[in-house]
């Protein structure tokens, strides 16, 4: 029964991982940029909820909406300042440009918030069935993740703007010839990517303690998930997140928890080598 509890916990967290990875993979899909500032943005999302909740007592889920909007704006700003100039340069430039943002956020964040772990003291009770206890916040986080995924899907496939994003991802030059303002679409896509990171950070804040540095762990997980689901495939990311959550729930039943990352990153390298398009064969 303990096993089942781990499994459910793993799955619920997997949804949140999925949202984080979705942001990373969306940015990669649209502009071939690996965003190394993803982790700090996740941490900033957590801190956004923390500050709004502890200072003015705002409900964490309302705070999440505020954080999401701020994340969108921050992402667009980041794109305009740091990415736009090097978008066509070799990978090294965009990798280092986003890493420079990572350093800037971590540096300022550490100076302001120090690295003492923070928690958002908020609870939605828990559901118990026999020996299995599920935290309410985790259920809500999973539901919120499904909602966000649905929203992203509708945006990408049912709106004109979403169509533009897909067109730019498919072939930027051709999209430009069709009169799509590709620079603005790229900025928007980067904004949506960071918005997703901020949302996942907000959800994480409701059930895990965090510091400004803790985003790094989720960033690495996002890489693994992104590759599992196929880089550039936002919906595959959710599935990848569930797989990773499941693994994290199941592996500790057989070996000590410290072996989990060995399997995770081993799997990551194997998938990269054997099926770089991901388990679900993303269209490029």
């Amino acid at each position: 029964m303990q096993f089942l509890a781990f499994l459910i916990d793993g799955l619920l967290i997997g949804f949140v991982y999925g949202i984080a990875a979705m942001g990373l993979t969306l940015i990669w899909g649209v502009m071939n940029v690996i965003n190394l500032a993803h982790g700090p943005i996740i941490a900033l999302g957590s801190f956004g909820v923390y500050l709004l909740f502890t200072n003015i007592g705002m409900n964490p889920y309302l705070a999440l909406v505020v954080v999401a909007v701020l994340g969108l704006l921050l992402g667009m700003l980041m794109y305009l300042i740091a990415i736009q100039r090097v978008i066509d340069a070799p990978h090294l430039s965009t990798l280092l440009a986003t890493f420079a943002i990572n350093m800037i956020i971590i540096g300022i964040g550490t100076a302001i918030f120090t690295t003492t772990p923070r928690t958002v003291n908020f609870s939605l009770g828990s559901i118990s069935a026999g020996p299995i206890t599920i935290l309410g916040t985790r259920v809500v986080a999973a539901l919120a993740s499904i909602l966000v995924t649905g929203g992203l899907y509708l945006f990408l496939y049912r709106t004109t703007l979403g169509k533009y994003v897909r067109a730019v991802a498919n072939n930027r030059a051709a999209a430009e010839l069709m009169g799509i303002p590709s620079r603005r679409i790229l900025a928007l896509s980067f904004g949506i990517g960071t918005m997703l990171a901020a949302i996942s950070g907000s959800l994480i804040a409701t059930f895990f303690p965090f510091t400004i540095l803790s985003g790094g762990v989720y960033e690495l997980k996002s890489f693994v998930i992104g590759v599992l689901g196929g880089l550039g495939n936002p919906l595959g990311a959710l599935a990848g997140g569930l797989i990773l959550g499941l693994l994290e729930g199941v592996i500790p039943a057989f070996v000590t928890t410290s072996w989990v990352p060995v399997f995770e990153f081993g799997l990551f390298i194997i998938i990269l080598l054997v099926r770089p398009t991901g388990l679900f064969g993303a269209k490029k």
């Binding site: 990978h91 800037i104 540096g107 990153f265 990269l272």
Partner: protein
């Protein structure tokens, strides 16, 4: 041969050796420590430059070779092997790992390779963390007696230092030889256009793998020196992703794909870091200041210091390898 007549190379080597031997003559331990860190960075940045700058493959996990070398070296020394053999073993183990990894992940291109190296780094750290012969999460600590064989701890530190100076010269020479050889030309061809290079007769899989091996040997060797000096090695320290990225920054700062660039970059970065860490105003946000600087370089001077000089003053192309 003509390539040995380059004044820039000899000037660089003379300066490095003079600076390197300076603390040996003055005998001051504090200057030695400062220069130790710099020379270490020079070795690591120059080595990384072979795969990053010449070949154009972004490796985020180069610290793996440094850490693995340190682990193998300390493990051997803790069972009684001498420092000299341990250093060779450290370099060899890093080379073997690079060869095996190269065979596997160098098939990936661009960002996929970069991601794979991050994965290798994390997998390695997690694995060593669970690997009991290497001490698991607590790592390996050298017994104090080990240093007695080298004339006590103080003497051992000086031996380590002189060895590092020698390895630094080796790293610069290696970097220069690769750059000016036909092999290096093949690497640059791969960087510019891998498919075209293949058509022109460069056996790309082998060439890339050997470049990776060459860029791993010296980090493995100085890893032994660094952790021998430290006395212990732990998984969290030995495989820190951040450390790898610092080398990337050094290479970019100085100018990737040049011999002198990583040297200047390494020295410049360490000087800057030292300045920021001790400055009242920047002490708390030194990481941010370094980040802003990096961003400015990436956006406006993508060639780094040496790249900029070579572009701005064409005459320097002859003397700045």
């Amino acid at each position: 041969m003509n390539r040995w007549r380059n004044p820039g190379l000899w000037l660089t080597l003379i300066v490095v050796v003079l600076v390197g031997l300076f603390p040996v003559f003055t005998g001051k331990a504090s200057t030695r420590e400062v220069i130790f860190t710099m020379l270490l960075s020079v070795v690591l940045a120059s080595s990384l430059n072979i795969i990053l700058g010449y070949t154009g493959y972004v490796s985020f996990g180069h610290v793996v070779f440094f850490g693995l070398g340190g682990y193998v070296g300390l493990y051997l020394m803790s069972v009684g092997v001498s420092l000299w053999l341990a250093i060779l073993a450290g370099g060899l183990s890093a080379a073997v790992l690079a060869f095996l990894l190269g065979k596997a992940i160098l098939r990936l291109r661009g960002a996929y390779f970069a991601l794979a190296t991050i994965g290798v780094n994390e997998a390695m750290r997690a694995f060593i963390n669970n690997f009991q012969p290497f001490g698991g999460p607590t790592g390996i600590s050298l017994h104090f007696n080990v240093y007695q064989d080298y004339g006590g701890a103080t003497q051992a530190l000086w031996i380590t230092y002189v060895l590092l100076v020698i390895l630094t010269v080796a790293a610069i020479l290696l970097s220069y030889v690769v750059k000016t050889s036909k092999f290096g030309l093949g690497l640059v061809a791969i960087r510019e256009d891998e498919d075209a290079a293949e058509v022109m007769g460069v056996v790309t899989p082998n060439t890339k793998t050997w470049a990776y091996v060459l860029s791993a040997i010296l980090p493995g060797m100085v890893g032994v020196l660094y952790y021998f000096k430290n006395g212990n090695v732990e998984p969290a320290d030995a495989f820190r992703l951040h450390f790898s990225i610092e080398f990337l920054v050094m290479v970019m700062l100085g100018g990737f794909g040049t011999v002198t660039g990583p040297i200047l970059g390494a020295v410049g970065y360490q000087r800057l870091r030292g300045f920021l860490l001790t400055n009242e105003l920047f002490k708390n946000i030194q990481l941010s200041v370094a980040g802003v600087l990096l961003l400015v370089i990436i956006l406006f001077i993508p060639g780094g210091a040496v790249g900029w000089l070579r572009k701005r003053f064409p005459v320097t192309r002859k003397v700045l390898p």
